[in-house]
């Protein structure tokens, strides 16, 4: 018989990590203490593999009020309004229970936003699913979309955009990232900090059950093994949007009334994280009475209470004099409020059974965060994907290929309330979302707009994670330009494989450098992010998938941006440089089974000029349609516009696949009235941006020079049917 596994190892701690804990405490930890370190030092909570790399990101700009490290980044957007932004992943839980996994992801990201004192006003959901020909992928896709719909709609935060990609790299590991945007009066900004010895820690919201016990390490840090899933069946968390809605209202009311000195949501590692984080940020200690925590189930152990990830809970730090007022507000919103802790001097986090009862655990609060290990894991460049798309023969049926590259995503976003709050000027279905910027308390309209987009491209990043990530940032900037906005701040979600694989660490490190280079070059601060590792199945890592969320601003919205459409009779221009004839990581290359090749180069300076030009043209109302060239190249870009507007296009161009399918950056299709063409060309010339006259919109065919001709109705039908033909009529889990 083999020796039993020591407790620390079964909790996911290494021998070195245990040694470290013994050093910190000056003694052996007890079981509860070990559990607390285990959840806090997990990859999910401590970023132990990625922290040394994230330091290379640029995070500063005059308009940044709060950078990375807090629950959300915050920027000043003028008129006394600040915007809070954050993105997070819920990949692993969504594989096991797609509906609840996605739903609780939405709940978690919303709490991060109102924790900052902001009213959450918009969600975005960048999604990645496996190949739709597989039943399991369809089951996951349907479940995730209904989970986001079910939770987001009911909690009363509109989902105004997102992304979706279907690819075999995600067959065993979907990605469910969720971004939330909130607005707050600048003066209401609060931090997740405890201060004032004698102040009380009040637990708000749901009772605590055995949800996700050990979930942080089991669910979030271990790879999926389908065969094992019944053996270590996790305690799946169930979301309650109704509780969350009441929590939002109660917390914002508490903040308005000035009753809270600090507030923190309970997410991964539950109470352990929330109590230690508030205490260590405030440089104080905390006594926690674990027996006071309301429970949903009988017989829960202290370690279960301290690590439970039950949803819809917040921890507010309040002054004792304010407690009655806090309770009154919570009662109005039917939110449970229980004193579970007291702020103490020194830096100890003590877990007690009754405030005057025995001490069950005592650790330096800061050690749970600051002393978490940081690993500089080995890195090795993997073999590039092959074969190369640059060596592909000309397509046999180019029209069929073009048609295969476009898909209408409305099957997804029609299930999301994307109009609540009357801010959505441009909703999902275009390059970026444009929201009216109104004051969160007075409702006063600034007349200006806030724009949002999320972007990622695993195919580019698989070829070259550094340049691929830079290209992703560049695409996001152009997407904002298409609704007339200039970029302001970036958040990112780094979805990668197993960090213990040197190839994955290399990808991660390169992607961080690519993100840093692009953001520096474009003058953008990174104000927050999230790292999701161990996205692998049976030892196979997903393609590196950094996802960026980009927030931008417009001036006064005098014209509704036209969106990605054509208008019959209008002239279609391509603003930007000639494409580089390379196809590495292109959607067309993948379609043809050739994921490798060379990535196009990115000239950040030129890119900035193109984006500025296009944003200006949109803001001036000069355009009748606009769409940046991205996945699928110019061919797919114009095909999407044709399909969306049921309007044809006769375009000039060579009979040359790379010219039509290259995903070379810094190009935007602009649709203009004949009378405006010269004006647009002059404006472009002034900033040194080339303009190509591509053709004229109208008719019932899409003609791509001599390369391909498509029937508008057939193209539109294929575009519309792509998702409904495989989703929405019932799926099985396997």
């Amino acid at each position: 018989m083999s020796a039993p596994v020591p407790l620390h190892r079964s909790l996911g701690l290494t021998d070195d990590e245990l040694e470290r804990i013994v050093e910190i405490l000056g003694r052996e930890p007890n079981g509860l203490e070990l559990a607390m370190y285990a959840v806090m030092w997990s990859e999910h909570c401590s970023y132990k593999s990625s922290r040394i790399h994230l330091g290379r990101l640029p995070t500063e700009a005059p308009w940044v009020l709060v950078g990375p490290g807090e629950n959300a980044g915050v920027v000043d957007v003028g008129d006394g309004i600040a915007a809070a932004l954050r993105i997070e992943s819920h990949n692993h839980p969504s594989f096991i229970e797609p509906y609840q996994g996605a739903a609780t992801g939405v709940g978690g990201i919303i709490r991060d936003i109102f924790t900052m004192g902001a009213r959450p006003i918009a969600l975005m959901d960048p999604l990645r699913f496996g190949d739709l020909s597989k039943p399991r992928s369809r089951w996951i896709a349907e479940g995730v979309v209904s989970g986001i719909s079910g939770y987001g709609n009911a909690v009363g935060v509109p989902t105004v955009g997102g992304e979706v990609v279907f690819d075999a790299t995600y067959d065993g590991n979907p990605l469910v990232n969720v971004l939330c945007l909130g607005v707050l009066p600048t003066e209401r900004l609060v931090l997740g900090q405890a201060s004032g010895v004698g102040n009380l820690a009040v637990l708000l919201g749901s009772a605590t059950g055995r949800d996700g016990i050990g979930g942080v390490s089991v669910l979030a840090s271990a790879g999926f093994e389908e065969t094992e899933d019944s053996a270590k069946r996790p305690s799946v968390q169930v979301g309650d949007p109704y509780e969350e809605k009441r929590l939002i209202e109660a917390c914002l009311a508490l903040l308005d009334a000035g009753l809270v000195v600090g507030i923190q949501d309970l997410g991964g590692a539950g109470l352990t994280c929330a109590t230690s984080e508030t205490a260590s940020r405030g440089g104080v200690g905390m006594d926690v009475d674990v027996s006071a925590v309301p429970r949903r189930e009988a017989g829960m152990e202290p370690f279960e209470v301290m690590t439970s990830e039950s949803q819809e809970r917040m921890l507010a730090i309040v002054e004792p004099e304010g407690l009655a007022a806090v309770q009154a507000i919570c009662e109005r919103w039917e939110v449970r409020a229980t004193v579970v802790g007291r702020v103490t001097e020194g830096g100890a986090l003590r877990i007690l059974d009754g405030f005057d009862g025995p001490v069950l655990a005592e650790v330096p609060a800061a050690s749970l965060h600051d002393d978490a290990p940081k690993y500089d894991r080995p890195r090795r460049r993997p073999a590039p994907p092959s074969p190369s798309a640059d060596e592909l023969a000309a397509p046999a049926d180019p029209a069929a290929d073009v048609q295969a590259l476009v898909a209408d995503t409305s099957w997804i976003w029609r299930q999301y309330d994307h109009m609540l709050f009357l801010n959505t000027v441009i909703g999902p279905g275009h390059d970026a979302t444009l929201l009216r910027l109104r004051h969160p308390v007075t409702g006063a309209d600034t007349g200006r707009g806030m724009a949002l987009t999320t972007d990622g491209n695993h195919a580019w990043c698989a070829v070259d994670p550094r340049r691929g990530t830079a290209l992703v940032v560049a695409e996001a900037v152009l997407n904002l330009a298409c609704v007339g906005a200039r970029p302001l701040a970036v958040v990112n979600c780094l979805n990668f494989g197993n960090p213990e694989h040197p190839e994955v660490m290399w990808q991660l490190s390169e992607a961080v450098d690519g993100l840093a280079e692009a953001c520096r070059g474009l003058g953008l601060p990174v104000i927050g992010g999230n790292v999701s590792l161990y996205n692998e199945t049976a030892g196979v890592d997903i393609d590196p998938t950094p996802v960026v969320g980009l927030l931008g601003l417009t001036g006064p919205i005098a014209h509704r941006p036209p969106g990605a459409v054509l208008a019959a009779g209008a002239v279609v221009l391509v603003v930007g440089p000639e494409p580089e004839p390379v196809l590495g990581g292109s959607a067309w290359g993948r379609l043809r089974g050739a994921p490798g090749g060379a990535l196009p180069t990115l000239d950040l300076e030129l890119h900035g000029r193109v984006a500025g030009l296009v944003a200006g043209l949109v803001a001036d109302g000069a355009l009748l349609g606009v769409h940046d060239v991205a996945s699928g190249g110019l061919a797919a870009t114009v095909a999407e516009m044709v399909a969306a507007s049921a309007t044809g296009l006769v375009a000039d161009g060579p009979d040359d696949a790379p010219w039509w399918f290259s995903e070379s950056p810094s190009r935007v299709v602009c649709v203009v009235g004949a009378a405006v063409v010269a004006g647009v060309e002059a404006a472009a010339a002034e900033v040194g941006v080339p303009v190509l006259r591509l053709g004229t919109a109208g008719g019932d065919v899409l003609r791509l020079g001599g390369f391909a001709t498509l029937d508008v109705a057939a193209l539109r039908g294929a575009w519309q049917d792509r998702l409904p033909s495989v989703l929405g009529s019932g799926t099985v889990s396997g």
Partner: protein, 86 residues
């Protein structure tokens, strides 16, 4: 081929939170109904099934439950099968 009346009673597994049940439980006393506790809400799917025999009909229903009607990670199902009078 014989025909069966099938009742699939789907419940959340023990320990899995049931926000709907909890909300109903909180509402009951307010509406003047006292004394109820432990409210849990489940689903019942009823249908008629043609099958070669009871064993194969039951096997099909259980497969349906496992892969389609429930997610066994959070729900469990009880299947009742009754032969219908011809």
């Amino acid at each position: 081929m014989p025909t069966y009346s099938v009742v699939v009673d789907i419940q959340l597994r023990d320990g899995i939170a049931d926000p709907q049940g909890a909300t109903i439980e909180r509402a009951l006393p307010v509406l003047g109904f006292g004394g109820a506790s432990g409210v849990r809400v489940g689903k019942v799917v009823r249908f008629t099934l043609d099958g070669a025999d009871e064993a194969s009909a039951r096997a099909e229903v259980e497969d349906m439950c496992e892969r389609f009607l429930t997610n066994p990670v959070i729900e469990s199902a009880t299947v009742t099968l009754t032969p219908q009078e011809p």
